[in-house]
Symmetry: C2
Subunit: 456 residues, 2 copies
């Protein structure tokens, strides 16, 4: 905010009942900013401010309020006030609100709404979470193809208060099949008598209701769209996803990606960190941690098998942490880059060989570097034992470490690609799972190499 | 794309020289889609298609082409054609192109541009990479505050072809200080004689040229803006960042976050995976891997110190991988959630105690779970030794593992917060660094606990 003093000032205006000033304040500001400032007030005060605004603005500001404050307001607003706000809310935000509120509350509120709104909520809530259908809004502007540019602008002007955006309008036939899209900019620039059919872009980029919400966000990004039309199985236009929803989708998917990479399970509707209960946090994290701990026991079994070797060369135990760390780190790096490149569609599963060839060369360099480091450590700081000369021990450790880095990097690169080929999310292979896998392969390599070189 | 057959069809149209069909095809489509289809053609063919379009469309399509194709076209376009395209390009895309092209090429092209464009490129290129100044465009629409709504719309109509967007316009005074913002929607809906000053939102949300680009993208997201104005140190309006740039910034920051979390260094201008050279990949990854490997040697030194203990109880070595894995995983999970919550501003550094209290309870549950698992493994599958009874060994390992999980979780939660308090990026503490740190603390805990309980 430009002016951090606005919040106390607002509070003063409310307590002093300066209605005209408050009304002007709400009308001159960005509704999202107003909502942010209002959240410092209690629900009764927020109600009194909201009621000063016209119905459209009321609904707009309400949509930007935090869920808790919305629920608080729902219980103190009069029936008539409530109906007006809910009726004017963007349909996607309204459907979300109904989906989140307790069932008894929605059962109570539903009858207050007109049939059309109830149907709309029911329809929007019926799409599977995470699909384009579930995030779209049904308040889009349509145009008939025979309108002139001037007529079209007049029409958009008339419907503007009820629509999420009038900057993109959609041309449909009688079956609501999508014929094209028109931007307000093109209409304004057009000659007055040009028709919508002349101006519109045919075959607009679109998504289907069942497409993943990421697909919609990705196309909005790729084609610099303000909104993308959503069609149903009969190819009829049923909604649009706007750019601001796309931005929110991307943030949500970003959180999910990162959590998946750290083996945290969760759902599409990620709640804030602080608001999630201890028990929920525990169960989201415990599943993978336990699975990986059990896999970690396999590593333990391998170590037990080579007990005699370890007793004879305790220096081998000293390099076990470095071995595990180097394998985990190099493998995770490769996996992260490949997962990200797959997500950004820079590479496809069919590029597997290309990726492996590249990673093999990078791995060789990393392996030489870390192997050399380990060798130097053994030679300069190791104490020789009777069992084998120092340089042989150093060589065994260096070769094992180099092999571990190469194996880990290649596994890190190829496992996400294999997952993608089997239509699994590549991110499941990321850091924790991979570290555990290369721990096992690393120990096997380590003890095998040591046995061979030290000749036991 | 709706019709995957368009690409070969396009090729056919080009080879058959069907100019009218090609022209119509370009004018009816989304420029980003056209650019995507054109990239299947060779530069000479792309040139012939581009020249059929009007200058504005040419520049728009050109802006969406891949960098390589753009450079290919630059060398075959005639001087006059080139100047026209570069002049009409969005200034931010043009400045980016000049920044990326080889110096000799830009030295060669610069004189072809008019003084104003040269100045513009110079100015936009002067802002530090990663700031709002470096991503903004200078093609925004301004309005005088005394215009009526009708006059304002006429003005926007006139300037539309040269502006990145006319949906958001900015009201400035004679010193170009920002007075307010007006949306085209508000102008269209307004009564004809209302003035811009009546309609505009005062104190619009803004960023400064030196602000981080993430700041601009974050505000666009938070306040559902189409564009955000950028002002310089004298509070004069110098550019805008549009929502499509915000989406690209978020994708770029997402990649950077993930790479930082996996200890991959890199720059703001992330190149595609495949196009980055093996050597560059190596150097981006080698730095942290080496630092962490050296830290891993500290773990090794600790293991060496407890050599005699390990020889006596080789079972302790068998649980080292599980110990390291559990610490790394639980610590990384906590760190990831805290880093993400900090990034989304759900928590602040001052919430440290709140976070620690929550994580302590989660850690206790996770510690009991994994400690119990380890105890069961020792009791059911361990073979007793002469040195100590099996249940004592199991107890030592279980307690050490539980303590390790608790320490790792708390360190994972607090280290990013400490980093944030010192204005460092919390993500540097993520997975690999943290795993290495908790490896060291874990081994110390492990051997201390074992020594105490097994009484050696």
């Amino acid at each position: 905010m430009k002016n951090p003093l606005l919040a106390p000032e607002l509070h003063e205006m409310v307590t002093q009942g300066r209605h005209d000033a408050l009304k002007e304040f709400c009308e001159d500001g960005n509704p999202a900013v107003i909502a942010e400032l209002l959240s410092a007030l209690d629900p009764a005060e927020v109600r009194s401010v909201l009621l000063l605004c016209d119905p459209i603005l009321q609904a707009e500001i309400f949509s930007f309020l935090e869920y808790e404050l919305q629920v608080g307001l729902l219980s103190i607003l009069k029936r008539r006030e409530l109906t007006r706000i809910l009726t004017n809310m963007p349909p996607d935000d309204r459907a979300d609100l109904f989906k989140r509120m307790p069932e008894e509350m929605s059962d109570d509120l539903m009858p207050a709404l007109a049939h059309a709104e109830r149907e709309d909520i029911r329809k929007l809530s019926s799409y599977r979470e995470g699909t384009a259908g579930a995030v779209m809004t049904s308040d889009y502007a349509t145009l008939e193809k025979d309108l002139t540019a001037t007529q079209a602008i007049l029409h958009l002007r008339k419907v503007a208060p009820d629509k999420e955006t009038i900057y993109s309008a959609y041309v449909v036939d009688r079956q609501r099949r999508l014929l094209g899209s028109v931007s307000l900019q093109d209409l304004i620039v057009a000659r007055k008598n040009e028709t919508v059919a002349d101006i519109m872009q045919e075959n607009p980029v679109l998504v289907r209701t069942s497409d993943d919400q990421e697909e919609a966000a990705g196309k909005i990004q790729k084609y610099d769209l303000l909104a993308i039309p959503v069609v149903n199985d009969e190819d009829s236009l049923v909604g649009i996803v706007t750019y601001d929803d796309a931005i929110d989708i991307m943030t949500q998917e970003h959180t999910e990606d990162i959590e998946k990479m750290m083996a945290i399970t969760g759902s599409h509707e990620t709640a804030a960190y602080i608001k999630t209960s201890v028990w929920k946090h525990f169960s989201n994290r415990a599943i993978w941690v336990t699975i990986l701990a059990i896999l970690g026991l396999i590593s333990g079994t391998i170590v037990e098998k080579y007990e005699t070797l370890l007793v004879q060369f305790t220096v081998l135990a000293a390099f076990m942490p470095m071995l595990a760390g180097a394998g985990g780190n190099t493998g995770s790096q490769a996996a992260t880059l490949v997962i990200r490149a797959l997500a950004l569609k820079e590479i496809q599963p069919k590029d597997a060989l290309l990726v492996l060839a590249k990673e093999a060369r990078i791995a060789l360099l990393l392996g030489l570097l870390l192997g050399g480091l380990a060798f130097a450590r053994v030679i300069f700081f190791g104490h020789s034992s009777d069992a084998a000369p120092l340089h042989l021990v150093g060589l065994a450790i260096a070769i094992a470490l180099g092999l571990q880095v190469i194996t880990a990097t290649l596994l890190g690169a190829i496992l996400p690609i294999i997952a993608a080929r089997f239509r699994l999310d590549p991110a499941v292979i990321a850091s924790p799972a991979l570290s555990t896998i290369v721990d096992i392969s690393g120990l096997l390599l380590y003890f095998t190499t040591a046995t061979l070189i030290l000749g036991i």
